[in-house]
């Protein structure tokens, strides 16, 4: 089964929040509501070696999604064609069980029912990338089939290790 996924490069993210704003815009989320994507700042160390990192997170469209498992009404399902986890708000009763189950804080509530990232399926149907990915100025966010993403990450890691070995060897 195909499984779409987001990729995220923590070394590239500057915390500009463009992904959050584009998500709010794309999904017509009302003011005051949290976006389907959020950015967390992580401060480590102290002067002079302090470091700030940012982590952009949304629904991970889990392979074995806990929100789907605990939903009492069947409002949450996983699409066979691309593995995207979607919510049917007409079936949601607003029990909030999904919020308790999700380790990523993905489910959001508006007018008592749950909504969340659906991988911008209307954009995807038109051949476009999800809004958050398309606006990311540093290409920290990406998306694709999870197998291809994993392969790309492995290749990048191999290149990094090889370069480091070659650099070490040339000394």
């Amino acid at each position: 089964m195909k499984q779409l996924a987001f990729s995220f490069d923590v070394n590239r993210c500057t915390g500009c929040m463009a992904c959050v704003v584009s998500c709010l815009d794309q999904n017509d989320l009302p003011g005051g509501m949290v976006s389907f994507r959020h950015v967390t700042k992580l401060e480590q160390g102290a002067f002079p070696s302090a470091k700030i990192s940012f982590l952009s997170l949304s629904c991970q469209h889990c392979g074995d999604a806990p929100c789907l498992m605990v939903c009492p009404t069947g409002a949450i399902s996983k699409r066979d064609e691309d593995g995207v986890v979607v919510s049917n708000r007409s079936l949601c009763v607003g029990c909030h069980s999904c919020v308790l189950a999700c380790p990523f804080g993905a489910p959001q509530f508006e007018h008592g029912t749950m909504s969340k990232c659906d991988f911008c399926h209307t954009r995807m149907e038109s051949g476009m990338a999800p809004a958050c990915v398309s606006v990311c100025p540093t290409n920290a966010l990406g998306f694709g089939n999870i197998e291809e993403l994993t392969k790309a990450v492995k290749e990048k890691a191999s290149v990094t290790i090889l370069s480091s070995l070659l650099t070490t060897g040339s000394r």
Binding site: P72, G94, G105
Partner: protein
């Protein structure tokens, strides 16, 4: 003697997920399912939403009537199990039929329990909320009621109270405990919730035991200590549940409050499994087997049992106490142990439910052990992770305890 494959006793979330998992793992043998109730699986979690008018009746059966045909299940519904004989691997139904099995799952759930109050057991005006049948009975009595007494300010008791208030019924909510939601709310959170419920018109009596009940066809008279008498059209009994295990008849299955299981949902008897509200699995916070009635946990347990019965080496590590529920216009959540006592226990609380949300964190030494939240949930997943991983929150203590929600969120994030 012929063995008939898998036998699933019960027809709730655990049973359904067991059947589904066994078939998805490629099990092609016979599956027999027995339940004393007729019809498709009912989700008791949804009955309050039906009674509040949020969903129609048919939505209380989320797996549908077609589930059993699709999964090729031999249904024996409307037949209670009279006796389970795990030595000979057979079960006797109350219609006289015997079913033999290779492996059996007990997923019979739990039933509402009434306290031993004189006049309560035999009262025709005492109602519970658990099954499809009890939901319909409660609906019928609510439709003509003007005043009711709710026994038990537990999660179910509070939900029944909300239903009654939404339907314009006067409610007296009674509990022997000194606070509402005695298991899931810290006393401070409970006080906030109590004030809110009282604003919704609920008359709450705490630390109050019921001496006896007198009933006739028109209603009930509840007799409390010091000569206090309260009259109502009916009594809603929300004082707890007990596992449905009557058919065991003293079989040597290891039990505590409910049937004890391991991480593969195996009982102490070979080829006999248990899942859902009828069993005690691991509480990840204590490492002990505890009775935690949770819909999601029941579904995971059922799935694990189904896979294991089908030959897949699946495990379910356990869960932790947790709950979330909307009450009127507030939503309340609990994680872990909010009643922890000890010299190193420290409480951090603040905020207001109607001004951005209320929070209460319970730390034991450097470890977060319990959380109550009202109307604020974005980070609840990270709190759960912090509790389960026993994260060393030492940085939270730098220069004294954090006092704001945002500080705690940020520092728990760092600790991860």
């Amino acid at each position: 003697m012929k063995q008939s494959g898998l036998l699933i006793m019960g027809n709730g979330g655990a049973a359904i997920h067991a059947v589904s998992a066994a078939r998805s793992a490629g099990y092609e043998g016979e599956i027999h399912q027995v339940s004393d109730m007729e019809g498709p699986a009912f989700n008791p979690m949804l009955s309050p939403y039906y009674l509040k008018g949020i969903i129609p009746w048919e939505r209380c059966f989320p797996f549908g009537a077609d589930f059993y045909r699709k999964h090729e299940v031999n249904c024996h519904f409307g037949s209670a199990v009279e006796r389970l004989d795990p030595i000979n691997k057979e079960t006797l139904l109350n219609n006289g039929r015997k079913i033999h099995y290779k492996k059996c799952l007990i997923a019979t759930g739990a039933k509402a329990m009434a306290p031993p109050v004189p006049g309560l057991q035999e009262s025709g005006r005492a109602f519970t909320l658990r099954t499809a049948r009890s939901t319909k009975r409660l609906e019928e009595v609510i439709s003509t009621a003007k005043r009711a007494v709710v026994l038990g300010a537990s999660l179910v008791g509070v939900k029944v109270t909300e239903i009654l208030r939404k339907r314009g019924v006067e409610v007296i909510l009674v509990d022997v405990a000194e606070q509402i939601l005695p298991r899931s709310a810290h006393p401070e959170s409970a006080t906030l919730l109590q004030g809110y419920f009282e604003k919704q018109g609920v008359d709450i009596r705490l630390g109050c035991s019921l001496n006896s009940i007198e009933s006739d066809t028109r209603g009930v008279r509840c007799l409390f200590p010091e000569g206090i008498v309260e009259e109502g059209d009916f009594v809603a009994v929300c004082t707890g549940i007990r596992p449905c295990v009557e058919f065991l008849n003293g079989e040597k299955i290891e039990m505590d409050q409910a049937i004890l299981v391991d991480e593969k949902m195996r009982t102490s008897v070979e080829n006999l499994y248990a899942a859902g509200d009828v069993c005690q699995g691991i509480n990840l916070m204590t490492g002990k087997r505890e009775w935690l009635g949770l819909w999601g946990n029941a579904c995971y347990q059922g799935r694990t049992a189904g896979l294991h019965m089908a030959g897949v080496n699946a495990v379910h590590q356990g869960t932790m106490p947790q709950h979330v529920s909307p009450f009127f216009h507030w939503t309340f959540a609990q994680l872990g142990d909010v009643h922890r006592q000890g010299k190193d226990v420290h409480i951090v609380s603040g905020g207001h439910p109607e001004k951005g949300g209320y929070h209460l964190f319970v730390f034991d030494g450097e470890v977060l052990v319990g959380v109550n939240l009202i109307n604020r949930f974005q980070e609840i997943g990270s709190f759960k992770t912090a509790i389960l991983r026993r994260l060393d929150c030492r940085r939270l203590m730098d220069g004294g305890f954090c006092s704001t929600y945002d500080e705690i969120v940020e520092r728990i994030g760092r600790s991860r």
